[in-house]
Amino acid sequence: MITKSGAKNFFVIGTVLCGLSFIGLALLTFRAIPSRTNVVDMDESVIRGKKIWERKNCMGCHTLLGEGGYYAPELTKVTDRRSSVWLNQFLKDPEKMYPGQRKMTNFHFTQEQINDIINFLKWVGKIDTNGFPAEAKKGLGAALSTNTNIKSTSDALQPEKMSLCLGCHQLGGTGGSAGPSFDALQFGSGKLTKEYVQKWLKDPQAIKPDTAMPNLGLGDSDIEEITTFLFNLKNNK
């Protein structure tokens, strides 16, 4: 059987060896971090965004790189999921975007702060995370599908603010599923006249007080642009 001094040596030698390896690996890690995290893209705005992230303790509810609270969504790849327009709108008044749902504090950010946060999140989204978060399975996933990536802002034809809608509605098979799919709605027939849709967009609750759709605070020109786009889409089909 091992003696006490033998056990002590085992402890001391093991600890020293592991400690030294750990420090060696730390050096390798720090050598790799700049390229894996695109340090060159870390501009003033990104750094300000990180400071806001820290000062407001966003990590107290959300995870970022999988670290934080489990109360609110994981945000590592949020900029793939949501457009800047959507995020911008959301951060101005989070509760408005999810009426009656789990609440996020309204921090009353200035426009500049919102830009910084979005830039920070975009930078985080490009970190090489060895594949986290994992791609969800298709199949059953598609049936339940709500967490689809919305790359709609890259679609030049779409009005910029359309991406706000696609957080909840689908168009061409992509988008959220909290609201009815635009692919299924019959724009221009029944009650869905252009005037009705414009009135709805202006203030959904005025028409249907208990609707889950938020008032997106769209201006008249945005509404005109969006409805024109949607109604043209139908005509083209």
Partner: protein, 597 residues
């Protein structure tokens, strides 16, 4: 029956622990209700505040418990008073002030959003100073006293824990680097140096409770902490899989963290083996319950549930989900929370000179089972919620909030389980309060043995004694007069008798049999010269109004004083005396009929 005056400071650290622990649970409930959809406090205490307070209170009460444990154990192990005992009280007060400021600040958004390390930078410096004072007192005491393996492993763990706080204070603009250093604190604490503290405290408790040979116990301590560092240091890699650090961590972190459960398995086997080997009659069974509970559940919570999600293939899906919360709860509970509760259960009868565990073990027994069954059920509730979340959100791609709606019902289960848990903890706290304040007489070790033995035979065991007592009870109408048999004769004897005579029959007190000359030297040191603090000199004791319990020692030396002393516990010759003692009226009750029967 503490052996050194300065050990008493431990009581106050334990009291702070109990208070902060209770508060921690309140914030747990706030979060559990929020998860269920009842975030009614959102505008006063939003979730991030509740979470930050919950986890920081956890760390604070555990650390306060460690400090108390160290202040209790180190004098005992080193055979001397703490150096600078008054500074220990200053350190306690400073600790409480920093804690209160941090917790208040969290409610006003004064924090750093860095999970577990939310204390703002300017308070970090105060934490560091405070902990340095603590380490200085413990280290200095160890340095000038007897150095045992248990004592030095404990000190090494505490010192390293203090030093490892520093990487968490490195400023950086890069989120990945920020996270990297954060793990040096969080992981290297709970899966590294805290395990040393845990091993040392377990070792101390097992030594005291089982009476197994010190050589054997301490050999195992070395083996366990060797495994801890062999696996735990490189095991840090399991937090470096996905944060932007290189891919080799998947391999290294995977392999080494998979070995981490071995250290906890070691603790479990160690605890059980020593308990079975022990020949000593266990006079404080609840301390043994908590000690074994700790060594076993730490393996389940940290070892088994940690292993369950430590391999990269699994962790890719479970990372940052409620599965982590499941593991976090049982690991902290099993390894560290129960450890502190074991230490408190062991130390309180000694600190308060109040062996209530005879008649109060019922409350502690209830606390043990309620809190453990509660916590295991909470873990199950988190597990079901977590696994569901992993499948629906991570594997099948459902929207986060939609999944949260699906699992709301499991938080109802969590709240139920947490209620049972809280009931257990409240019982523990009530039991703690009922012990009363620290008022133990202090004994130099020559008298310690007799004292222990005397209390044991009267209060805990001693078949013939209880027979005798029964008889006397009848005669004296329920009043047991033990003065003759005990006070005068025994105490007088203690004073007269030569130290060496005690050594001969101390077969279960390892320390003393090791070296008698050492102990003579310390006896002298204790009373007179080397002691740094004057207040402990015999002559000064009555002047010391700071600490009204000091006069205990007078009782030891002069029996005459006893009648004037309201708080005494030896002079139980008069029922009225017991009832008068409103401060802590349970104290005398172990002389009641019920207990003796």
């Amino acid at each position: 029956m503490i052996r050194f005056e300065s050990q008493r400071v431990a009581y106050w650290f334990f009291a702070v622990s109990m208070l902060l622990f209770t508060l921690q649970l309140v914030y747990g409930f706030i979060m559990a209700f929020a998860h269920m959809g009842y975030d009614v406090l959102h505008h006063i205490i939003p979730f991030n505040t509740a979470r930050t307070v919950h986890t920081n209170l956890l760390l604070m009460w555990l650390i306060s418990g460690f400090m108390g444990a160290a202040y209790f154990i180190i004098p005992d192990e080193t055979d001397r008073e703490l150096i600078m005992p008054r500074l220990a009280y200053v350190q306690l007060i400073a600790y409480v002030i920093v804690g209160v400021l941090s917790i208040l600040g969290f409610h006003y958004g004064i924090w750093e959003g860095r999970k577990f390390l939310e204390i703002p930078r300017f308070l970090d410096y105060l934490v560091v100073v405070d902990v340095l004072i603590f380490v200085l007192i413990i280290g200095g005491t160890l340095w000038s006293g007897k150095i045992t393996t248990t004592g030095s492993v404990l000190f090494f763990g505490l010192l390293m824990a203090a030093l490892l706080y520093l990487p968490g204070m490195i400023d950086t603009d890069n989120q990945t680097v920020d996270s990297y250093w954060r793990w040096w604190v969080v992981h290297l604490w709970v899966e590294g140096v805290w395990e040393l503290i845990m091993g040392a405290i377990l070792c101390y408790l097992l030594l005291k409770l089982t009476g197994v040979d010190r050589e054997i116990v301490e050999k195992w301590l070395y083996v366990i902490v060797a495994f801890t560092f062999l696996s735990g240091i490189l095991g840090t890699g399991h937090h470096f899989y996905w944060i932007g650090t290189p891919k080799f961590w998947l391999l290294i972190g995977g392999i080494f963290s998979a070995l981490e459960p071995l250290a906890f398995l070691g603790m479990a086997i160690f605890g059980i083996a020593m308990a079975r080997k022990g020949s000593k009659e266990i006079i404080n069974p609840m301390a043994m319950y908590w000690t074994l509970g700790c060594s076993i559940l730490s393996f389940v919570g940290a070892g088994f549930l940690g292993f369950a999600h430590t391999l990269p293939r699994v962790n890719l899906y479970t990372h940052g989900t409620l599965v982590t919360a499941m593991h976090g709860h049982l690991a902290f509970w099993g390894a560290y929370a129960m450890l502190i509760l074991a230490m408190i259960t062991y130390a309180m009868p000694k600190l308060c000179c109040n062996p209530r565990h005879v008649e109060s073990s019922g409350l502690n027994y209830f606390a043990f089972w309620a809190s453990n069954i509660g916590m295991i059920s909470m873990t199950l509730a988190f597990a079901v919620a977590g696994v569901t979340q992993v499948y629906l959100e991570r594997i099948y791609g459902m929207d986060f909030l939609a999944v949260q709606k699906e699992i709301e019902v499991h938080f109802a289960g969590l709240i139920l389980a947490a209620s049972l848990f809280t009931l257990g903890i409240l019982s523990f706290v009530i039991n703690f309060i009922r012990y009363g304040r620290p008022r133990a007489r202090v004994h130099d070790m020559s008298k310690d043995y007799i004292f222990d033995e005397a209390i044991d035979s009267i209060c805990f065991k001693g078949e013939e004694n209880s027979q005798e007592r029964d008889n006397e009870m009848d005669d004296d109408e329920g009043v047991y007069d033990d003065t003759e048999e005990f006070d005068e004769s025994d105490l007088e004897e203690i004073d007269i008798e030569d130290d060496d005579e005690y050594l001969s029959d101390e077969d279960d007190e390892l320390d003393y049999s090791e070296s008698s000359s050492m102990f003579d030297k310390n006896y002298g040191a204790y009373s007179y010269d080397k002691n740094t603090s004057k207040s402990y000199d015999e002559d000064d004791i009555d002047d010391d109004d700071d600490d009204d319990d000091d006069d205990c020692r007078d009782d030891m030396d002069g029996i005459d004083d006893i009648d004037d002393d309201e708080d005494r516990m030896w002079n139980i010759d008069d029922e009225d005396d017991i009832d008068d003692d409103d401060d802590d009226d349970e104290k005398g009750t172990y002389y009641d009929d019920d207990d003796i029967d």
